[in-house]
Symmetry: C2
Subunit: 399 residues, 2 copies
Amino acid sequence: MQALILNFVTTIEKLVIDDPRRIVHSFKVALAITLVSTVYYLKPLYKDMGDASLWAVMTVVVVFEYTAGATLCKGMNRGLATLLGGALGIGAKYLASLSGPKAEPIVLGCIIFLLAASATFSRFIPHIKKRYDYGVMIFILTFSLVAVSGYRVDKIIELAYQRLSTIIIGCATCIIISICVCPVWAGEDLHNLVVSNLEKLASFLEAGFGGQIPFEGDGVNSSNEPDKSSCLVAYKSVLNSKAAEESLANFAWWEPGHGKFGLYHPWKQYLKIGVASRQCGSHIEALNGYLDANFQISSELRKRVEEPCIKMCSEAGTTLKELANSMKSFSCPLKSTMHLQTCKEAVDEVNAMLKASFVGEFDILEITPIIRVVSMLIEIVKCVETIHVAIEELSEQAH
Amino acid sequence: MQALILNFVTTIEKLVIDDPRRIVHSFKVALAITLVSTVYYLKPLYKDMGDASLWAVMTVVVVFEYTAGATLCKGMNRGLATLLGGALGIGAKYLASLSGPKAEPIVLGCIIFLLAASATFSRFIPHIKKRYDYGVMIFILTFSLVAVSGYRVDKIIELAYQRLSTIIIGCATCIIISICVCPVWAGEDLHNLVVSNLEKLASFLEAGFGGQIPFEGDGVNSSNEPDKSSCLVAYKSVLNSKAAEESLANFAWWEPGHGKFGLYHPWKQYLKIGVASRQCGSHIEALNGYLDANFQISSELRKRVEEPCIKMCSEAGTTLKELANSMKSFSCPLKSTMHLQTCKEAVDEVNAMLKASFVGEFDILEITPIIRVVSMLIEIVKCVETIHVAIEELSEQAH
């Protein structure tokens, strides 16, 4: 029991330390709900809205999301879908009423059936699923509510008006609070995520694979095991960042300009950088796994390629670090071009070295791991180059 | 304009052909909404429920998901959260009423604020986020609705009862229709997804990399380019299946036993198989990329390793195919063990071959690509072994 409580407290602590904005978000939601529910307490407002003011509370609970972009996405979707659904619902109700009181429920039922089926199907269309999924759901909801309740409530227009206005109050409250009170911008989070991923890869490479690059000692250095494992976890998180990046980019699309980010900031370019980073990360993982498993060599050839390989690795790391810095400061990547050049020179050097070495000198089992390591490093350098190009494009598009 | 319409029709057609159950799902949703809205038309039911019967329509729209598991997850979450939120809401209302009519709204406001803040924060806890996210949202919603409306509506218990009973009607309709009318089981989908991923990898390997395995011809065979590209797309989809597998496994957890799947089917094991499949896929991608870019060799060494390599590749493919078949028929993987054995023998053979070759015979540039290809193939065989072990575990756990 005590262990359970301790475990719970640790989890909460970790959540807060990882991102203190989570606490702020919780209070923002609570504030919005409390604000909106005062509509219900204040007599003048209540007279106008009636029990429909409960819809405002509901809207706030459902629409308020962690990032401003997500809140905007849901709020806009909900508002527009309610408007459209309400209008069509009223239309359907009048259409059905033309067929006489007996046939009315049947006609209404058929209309609802057809519209619900086709709207539900439209949620499978990829573009709609990505951006308007919630809107279509609210459209079906409002349409059926208005059309169905129209059968009993005569004041159908008033109902639709009440529902729409309370939902607008709810959405507006959410959007205003989420943008004005300590906003969490999806775009900024995406930018920081991409930058921190680059930094993780960079520090891993700069340290020469957490100190285990085989050209310095012999194989794995077991004394700094904890250091290595934290490094490993760091770049593993790069490999798993795809889903987070895509949803952030999707929400960032909805956000107005803020800080250094304009309204039409090229968010898609961040996804390209992300893909290249993950590719780089997976090469690093492959190399890392290979070193862990197979690396025990000492040979003449190793000594020859040692220097350019260390250079390759650390320069690739520096290139990534400079790229991350230039992204942070929203400047053109200039320094990184230089480091990338040095990196490529090191690649040429290694290649020349290998070409010059006549194989007769060495045993095949001796050189196999060296060739593998070298070619994996070359792959990593290629990825770094791809990242460089993508960031240059980003800096051009953003200006 | 015409192009737009044509494009639209093609998209719809593709959606239907890819998975005809989508059409069925749309009709199921429409059926559920139409059924529930008859509650509103039928006088005896309407008398009992009043306008609250609209909640049933709403519940159906919001709860009905594509798979039975997802519908069950949302339905159970919504039902239980409404019960809990309603009960606590009534409690809060009575607690606040003790403090006198003037202080009541203030006390209520404070209670709502605190509860909403802490419940919102709890949605960040990973375990709750994974399984009960929707439930917590509905809890906040019901709690604030009941507590706020309690300030005006005296018949608060009746309101809570109406809301709960209509929501139960809505959830029950959804769950019954989604389980009884052409059910889409998340568990079955997960099973089929994992099996089809194995088959994709298998056919790629069995065909010797879409006919381009370099030991048969020289480099890429450009005549069957379209075949190759469709193969490429097939295994690329394996690499991107992580998110789908995880959400299906999550929903499968909610499903009752069905067909060959028991109530406690080891769904987590499927995720393990998925991880190994993706690893295998990424090795295949690396090898494929390497072959595309670098492979132009003809050497004595190649001839020596040619035979065991082709054997390794095709036996690895057959092993995967047999594993997929044994998963399909829910039997123990026996045949695959044999093929895996042959595969491992081929690996030993190649290793012995390399060991026996004295390097003096060959040029380093000549053997480098061969060594790389061989070692990548060995990595693929290792992955196949991991998949084999995971599927054996699955078959043990399932029986």
